[in-house]
């Protein structure tokens, strides 16, 4: 196993890179990097939260996009409602205040997670994967056929976003707000993975039957992990809605779920910031190769195969980001 540097040093490097990126982008006259950076950080939150289920608990979830989309649409719908009724102070507040709409988006996605998880966790393995996929597709088709919220077209967010009353629509400000959420997610994950709860999840991943015979009600631990993961996905969705000022059912498509999974594996399963590395690698490669060839997925696919066989621990393992 290649271990370049200890985990805490890796974390410090990652945080330094996040903080310094806008400065570097400005110095090199590449303001576009800030926008891509914001997207990477948001997707990073989604992938890290997915890793709680896939990596730490060992459940192959193929429906994470549903929660990403649920969070996105929560923010989007609130914004549309606020725009439709400018006289309602309450709607104005909910629709434009991130301190309200983001936690709400996470809660809505978390509730979907509880519901889907309670049913999907009656199975394991490939069946679990198929059921999570089926639930995500159901939600996708519900939103595609909702004309009120744009149907296939999606909805545009018209409210200016505020956080505790302060305007955060400036790209640089928004970048740092997202960065703070991401770093919070990483630190939360690091706390969780070594806690009693995290150890039980790791035990389930290795041998659920044994864990059950130690007296743990494994279903409940896995369900909570699934709901927390969904809430994280929902938060990322709301951030993405604010970033793009637009949400569409495409956020919930199985293609999006697949991309999250690829990024998770690429970044490293059962890590803390691996999801961010996976998201960064995937999005940067995407942007780079897309300018050369339309068939960049072929290149990515082959590259991913080679990388994963050579490095089963993913990018994070190179930074020793495990246990």
């Amino acid at each position: 196993m290649i271990r370049l540097i200890p985990s805490t040093v890796g974390l410090a490097l990652v945080i330094a890179a996040i903080v310094l990126l806008p400065g570097v982008a400005t110095a090199l006259h590449q303001p576009f990097w800030i926008s891509i950076g914001t997207r990477i950080l948001i997707v990073g939150i989604a992938v890290i939260s997915l890793d709680l289920v896939v990596g730490h608990a060992g459940l192959p979830s193929f429906g994470h996009a549903a929660f990403f989309g649920a969070g996105g649409f929560t923010a989007g719908i609130l914004s549309v409602q606020a725009a439709a009724d400018p006289s309602s102070a309450l709607l104005q507040l909910i629709g434009s205040e991130a301190a309200v709409s983001w936690p709400l988006a996470a809660a809505v996605a978390g509730l979907f997670g509880l519901l889907f998880g309670a049913l999907a966790l009656r199975t394991r393995g490939v069946n679990f994967l198929m059921i999570t996929l089926a639930f995500a597709q159901m939600l996708y088709f519900v939103f595609v056929s909702l004309p009120t919220y744009g149907g296939d077209e999606g909805v545009r967010l018209r409210q200016t976003q505020h956080l505790f009353g302060r305007d955060i629509s400036d790209p640089l400000v928004f970048y740092y707000v997202v960065a703070a959420m991401l770093i919070g997610t990483i630190l939360g994950m690091r706390m969780l993975m070594v806690s009693r709860f995290g150890r039980v999840l790791a035990s389930c991943r290795q041998n659920e039957r044994r864990t059950r015979f130690l007296g743990y009600r494994t279903d409940l631990y896995l369900l909570l992990a699934f709901a927390l993961s969904a809430a994280g996905g929902g938060l990322a969705g709301a951030l993405m809605a604010n970033h793009l000022r637009y949400v569409s059912p495409q956020m919930m498509s199985w293609f999006q779920s697949g991309e999250f999974l690829i990024m998770n594996v690429l970044g490293g399963l059962a890590s803390s910031y691996g999801g961010l590395l996976g998201a960064a690698a995937f999005i940067v490669l995407h942007e780079t190769f897309l300018s050369f060839t339309e068939y960049w997925e072929v290149v990515l696919g082959i590259g991913l195969l080679v990388f994963v066989f050579a490095n089963p621990g993913g990018l994070a393992r190179l930074l020793a980001d495990r246990r």
């Binding site: 009693r196 790791a202 290795q206 864990t211 059950r212 015979f213 130690l214 009600r217 909570l224």
Partner: protein, 249 residues
């Protein structure tokens, strides 16, 4: 009359036409080491699965310390003090040996919906875990990754995990399965030391171990108890010799 720790009455479990447990009854008093022997397919592992809560019996009842536990979940039975080991070693391969036992100790603390603080740096978890490893003579391997243990050592680890749950009754499903003679004797010596203060139900094919350790033996054939009593009595029982122990010393 003191009640037995475990009382099984009229237990039945069928898989299609096969009666794996066929009107099986058994009492195990506190402190007894009870061996369950019988030919392959007699239903021993199925019985263990019903006592530990993995399988629901079709009929009959299981009482533990006077309480009917027939309908309880696995977790509820573990909480009341029933722990088990497995016929095929069942450990947590990525954890170290100590961490395997620590997660078992952690299970005795009540629920683990706790999100802050590392149990592996908590002496309230680590110290008891280490003591369990000492009890099975595996403390020297505490920091070895469990999957790297030899087969015999994995069986010792399983014992430590079962003990860490502070059980009142330990169900041991073939603790020496697949072991070399030498390792099996080591486990035998270990169980001999552990049996004081523990109640054990032991499924085993190793007759040397069964007759050296057990206070009573039950012979199971086709899901039924055909004989039950002290080892010498069972050994001499003509029914047993006919049914099972043909090649017996």
């Amino acid at each position: 009359m003191s009640q037995p720790l475990l009382r099984i009455e009229g237990l039945r479990k069928s898989f299609g036409a096969l009666a794996a447990t066929n009107d099986f009854s058994l009492d195990i008093p506190t402190g007894e080491t009870h061996a369950l022997i019988g030919p392959n397919g007699a239903g021993k592992t199925t019985l263990i699965a019903q006592i530990s809560g993995e399988l629901r019996p079709d009929a009959g009842s299981i009482q533990f310390a006077g309480e009917d536990i027939t309908a309880l979940t696995i977790a509820q039975r573990v909480e009341r003090g029933i722990s088990r080991s497995f016929q095929i070693s069942s450990i947590l391969p990525e954890f170290t040996v100590l961490q395997n036992v620590a997660i078992a100790v952690q299970a005795t603390e009540g629920h683990s919906f706790r999100f802050h603080g590392d149990p592996w740096r908590d002496p309230r978890v680590q110290d008891p875990a280490l003591r369990c490893l000492e009890a099975v003579q595996l403390a020297s391997k505490a920091h070895v990754i469990a999957s790297e243990l030899a087969h015999g050592e994995q069986r010792q680890l399983e014992l430590a995990m079962a003990l860490a749950l502070k059980p009142r009754l330990v169900l041991l499903d073939e603790p020496t399965a697949g072991m070399a003679q030498e390792d099996a004797r080591r486990i035998q010596a270990l169980l001999r030391r552990l049996k004081t203060g523990l109640t054990m139900l032991l499924v085993e094919h190793d007759m040397d171990l069964v007759f050296a350790l057990s206070d009573r033996v039950t012979v199971m054939v086709y899901g039924k108890a055909v004989s039950s009593g002290p080892p010498e009595q069972v050994r001499a029982d003509p029914v047993v010799r006919e049914a099972y122990l043909g090649d017996f010393p």
